[in-house]
Symmetry: C2
Subunit: 622 residues, 2 copies
């Protein structure tokens, strides 16, 4: 197993450009917007611990873990030297957590205040999920501030979990109904060096699928469990080879499996992770990098089932796919993982947040037809359409703090290294210092990618450099101080040795059309317009009505227009659609040549739905 | 109001050709197939009236009216001189009906044997629907055999209904939850001459929508009633202008409204019927003539919402649309009604029955992708796909006997007449004698339509003849004894006077492509191949996989092939699809020219799914 080292964002400073702007929006606006919503919905006050029946803002299991994810975000922002005043807010919450945690270590802000006697009785109540996020927040906060109060609470909670699930086996179930703690425990092990936390993660991963379906609570019966597929208990993890069930649960599990594969050099886990990742990438992922084709169970369905109008593609699932892919880079260095991360970063992840940074998609639509929403009016169970505009708050609000923590730690995705090679996975204007066997290596990226495709890379240190050549790119050049570079290709990376001077990677950024595999029924006869890693879409506000009826004249070319959206250009093209007027009232008629020439204005997909409710399509006709 | 006279099938003998073959299949096979299933499922034995708890084949409201519809079919067959031996079977059932009917006239084979005390307490129990079918069967059987026993039972039941709903108003609701009795009572009025039955029909139609939603039973709560739209109680009938809710209920109501508009010369009802019909024809009807876009509530949804893969399009709804259209021809003579009847006849109605005549679709798919059915496995509530092959029996079996009665009385759709004009609406090889003011008129059609477009019409009698020029036809000629005919066009009919010789209508039967209004999202960029009134489809068994990815080379023309399907030719064309092999594992890739030339074999839509489970599409790409 080729093991690589993870380079955390703390060693990578995003200095300028697209991602710097997004990170500043996150630090200046988004983190406060989420805080405000959480205050308004009683998420913070819940930590006072004195909620009683009849009081507003009843805690609920679907709300646990959100504050912890928000605090984890703050920790990353503090590490970046931002949002200093939020440290006091976290300290307050942490004091409350310490004060309210049960003496035996149990911690759950919902059950502790409603019915502690029912703890560990229902596999779907997210108790382990919430402790997982407590752990992630604790590790992050300790590493950002050096304060260990929350870390001690987290260890105490983890010790309690170890006691009741491993020693006593006194719980009504054996493994988490909603995965998350598996990957969190690996972080806790790295932070504390305590092997028992790694062992506990290993325990949960190995036990999964060994006890049948365990228990499916009645209130989850409406999601047919499919012999446990809904929460990945359908088979022992090493026998799983397709992405199944609830997408976020699945991807948090796969991330934990990848972590453990690395820690234990476990070939069985590695193979399972490889098969599952390939299944997602080759059969179950939208062009946006979003996953989860149906809202029923927020789940993966079957290969090539990628309906656009009813796509679910939860923001948390997009983030979780990046978490999984990033871990795969550490055990199976291949550019396909970084390609998927880039696809998600510029599309399915960015789309989750409004351009103003204060509103969010829980589900990310792949197509919007406001007329169709009328269908829902007929019957509760009729085809379910996603919301058409981002909301400032949800009842279940797992996504917003997941977005803030991801944006604050975006530097996690740029680099990994082997003993002698620095891998460059993502291209962002940045400075990094990377400790390697032969000493620190300094690497600076100067680029306004993806506005242009020019990436200049300066490396100081005795090291080989592996530069990812994006899968979307067909024409590119690599030079060192202006001279053609000498390199060898290795699994999607151009590997350079004895570098004397500045590496310059130039990627062809001409807009291009993408087609989907013919097995994808929904995209048959259609193409998506892209530029670099960015997927584009048409919106009604720019292009009128019946966007699904629009053809693009590819032979007339696609022009790069102004940079309306945070430095990403719009695209202009010529096209045509049929003239509705010519149909009068008729529903069907003999095919006639009835072309209405139109100018098409494409905007980046991530920027859709920022100008009111309007039609949107990604897949147009050539 | 231009009132026309209805010419029943009893005056029209189908003598040869396509419909003769289908009628013989109905008489020789289908009527017996349905009888066999009804015997096997205890539908007949239920009429013994001694079912008790614990015995098999518990009667249920969803099964009421089926035997009556089967007997109505037998009556029509007897009238055609067929199935003599089934008369004895009917007489037996009729004796049981007379014996079991309550002294006060109440009749319902389900409640009478389960809990008579609950009669008239639940609007959704189909009690009035079942009595409606009892009435239709009684009238048909009396007219076919002269036997009036069942007719007396029907009158007695109708009298009871009049007593409890009009005089006593003693029921828990005011109007039928499932319409049908409205149109049946008009038939009973014509058969008996008793005005009170017409008044009762008028009562139900006028009361509808005047009592709010009336009562929606809990067990129907899953179909959101939409303020009564589900069963057309959302507004007084004269204020309704769109087709709403459960398609069969709606269309039986509209048929009754059209009947009453004619009887009462009620302009308010006529206008409502016209608006509703236009809404269906222009916004809510599949190219097959099927209606009902969702299985949730088996219902109409919103304008232009015509998804193919999840279409519901119940066979009974297609038949009910013909019933409505036929009645509109009597109050608003326009070829659009006959055009819709023809569309349904050759597509959505014929598709309901297997070519062998012994299996049926309850829902008629507009597209089949066997892979997609896997989606259902994920969650009970996930996208619901229709069955892919016709079944020999259903639990709810309203469709099979509806099909047999319609096929046996197909002659109902050929002619209507005004005082001085004979209207020819449909083209079938036939002899008819039509009583008109100036005496009987004999009309003979000699044609092998739709194999060819030549229709020769011989008329004896002093009458004007209005020949429908089908809306699908762009090129046609009309001659009398070989000389160009003199005619005037009137609302889609070529009207000829002083006819001296044989009228010959020649319709251009060249295959053609149809496009849907751009507002129909599902058909954007797609066309349907048709010939005459027949819609064609591609099946996987002939054309491989990923049929949605297939393009037809229209410029190479579409050839008429052999006549595989009951005298209807198949169509051959050239086309292309993308080569899946070229994609390898990739889900997305840059658009490349990747055409695989293929030969396309189109079969009539009505003949699909007769050769095993296989893909099917109507809408292909040009």
């Amino acid at each position: 197993m080729e093991k690589h080292t993870f380079i955390p964002f703390s060693q990578v400073k995003i200095t300028d450009g697209f991602w710097k702007m997004r990170q500043e929006l996150n630090a200046d606006t988004t983190i406060y917007a989420v805080k405000k919503r959480f205050e308004e919905t009683g998420r913070f006050s819940a930590y006072q611990g004195h909620w009683r029946e009849g009081m507003p803002h009843k805690p609920y299991f679907l709300l646990t873990g959100d504050i912890e994810k928000w605090m984890e975000s703050v920790a990353y922002l503090l590490k970046n030297g931002k949002c200093k005043e939020l440290e006091a807010v976290c300290d307050e919450v942490i004091d409350l957590i310490e004060r309210n945690q049960f003496p035996d270590g149990y911690f759950n802000m919902w059950l502790m205040q409603t019915d502690p006697t029912r703890r560990w009785t229902n596999r779907d109540w997210h108790e382990l999920y919430a402790i997982g996020h407590l752990i992630e927040a604790a590790v992050a906060y300790y590493e950002a501030t050096g304060k260990d109060k929350l870390l001690r609470c987290a260890c105490k909670a983890a010790d309690h979990v170890e006691k009741v699930f491993v020693e006593e086996k006194s719980c009504a179930f054996f493994t988490p109904g909603h995965e998350e703690i598996e990957l969190a425990l690996v972080k806790l092990y790295h932070c504390t060096g305590n092997e028992k936390y790694l062992a506990l993660s290993r325990h949960f991963i190995n036990e999964r699928g060994m006890h049948g379906e365990e228990r499916i609570p009645a209130d989850y019966g409406r999601f047919v469990s499919q012999n446990g597929r809904y929460d990945q208990t359908h088979a022992p993890v090493r026998e799983q080879d397709t992405a199944e069930g609830h997408a976020v649960r699945a991807l948090y599990l796969y991330s934990g499996m990848a972590d453990l594969a690395r820690e234990d050099e476990d070939q069985g886990l590695l193979k399972a992770c490889q098969k599952i990742f390939d299944n997602i990438m080759n059969c179950r992922m939208y062009i946006s990098g979003g996953v989860g084709s149906t809202y029923r169970g927020e789940a993966f369905t079957i290969d090539y089932d990628l309906p656009n109008l009813t796509a679910y593609t939860e923001s948390c699932a997009a983030i979780a796919l990046m978490l999984f892919a990033r871990r795969m880079l550490l055990v199976d260095p291949d550019s396909k993982y970084a390609d998927v991360i880039e696809k998600v970063l510029y599309n399915g992840f960015l789309s989750s947040t409004s351009l103003k940074g204060d509103a969010f998609f829980y589900e990310n639509p792949l197509e919007i037809d406001p007329k169709q929403t009328g269908k829902e009016k007929f019957a509760v169970e009729s085809a379910r359409m996603p919301i058409m505009e981002r909301a400032k708050v949800f009842y279940t609000s797992c996504c917003p703090p997941n977005i803030t923590r991801t944006m604050a730690s975006i530097g996690d995705y740029l680099y990994t290294c082997s003993a002698d090679t620095l891998y460059i996975h993502q291209f962002m204007n940045s400075d990094a210092v990377i400790p390697m066997e032969k000493g620190d290596v300094k690497v600076r990226q100067c680029t306004d990618y993806p506005l242009t495709g020019d990436i200049r890379i300066a490396v100081e240190g005795d090291v080989k450099v592996a530069v990812r050549i994006p899968g979307w790119c067909e024409k590119w050049s690599l030079t060192v101080d202006g001279k053609p570079a000498v390199y060898t290709m290795n699994r999607g990376y151009a590997v350079l040795e004895n570098i004397q001077g500045e590496i310059c990677l130039q990627l062809d950024m001409a807009p291009y059309a993408v087609e989907a595999n013919p097995y994808v029924q929904d995209d048959a006869g259609r193409i998506a317009i892209c530029r670099g890693p960015v997927v584009y879409c048409l919106e009604g506000v720019d292009n009128g009505f019946n966007l699904r009826d629009i053809h693009v004249n590819m032979d007339q070319g696609i022009e790069v227009g102004g940079t309306d959206f945070c430095g990403i250009p719009v695209l202009e093209a010529k096209g045509w659609q049929r003239d509705e007027q010519a149909f009068g009232n008729s529903l069907y008629r003999r095919m006639k040549d009835n072309r209405k020439d139109i100018s098409l204005h494409f905007v980046p997909y991530f920027a859709f739905a920022n100008r009111g409710v309007t039609e949107m399509v990604i897949w147009v006709m050539p």
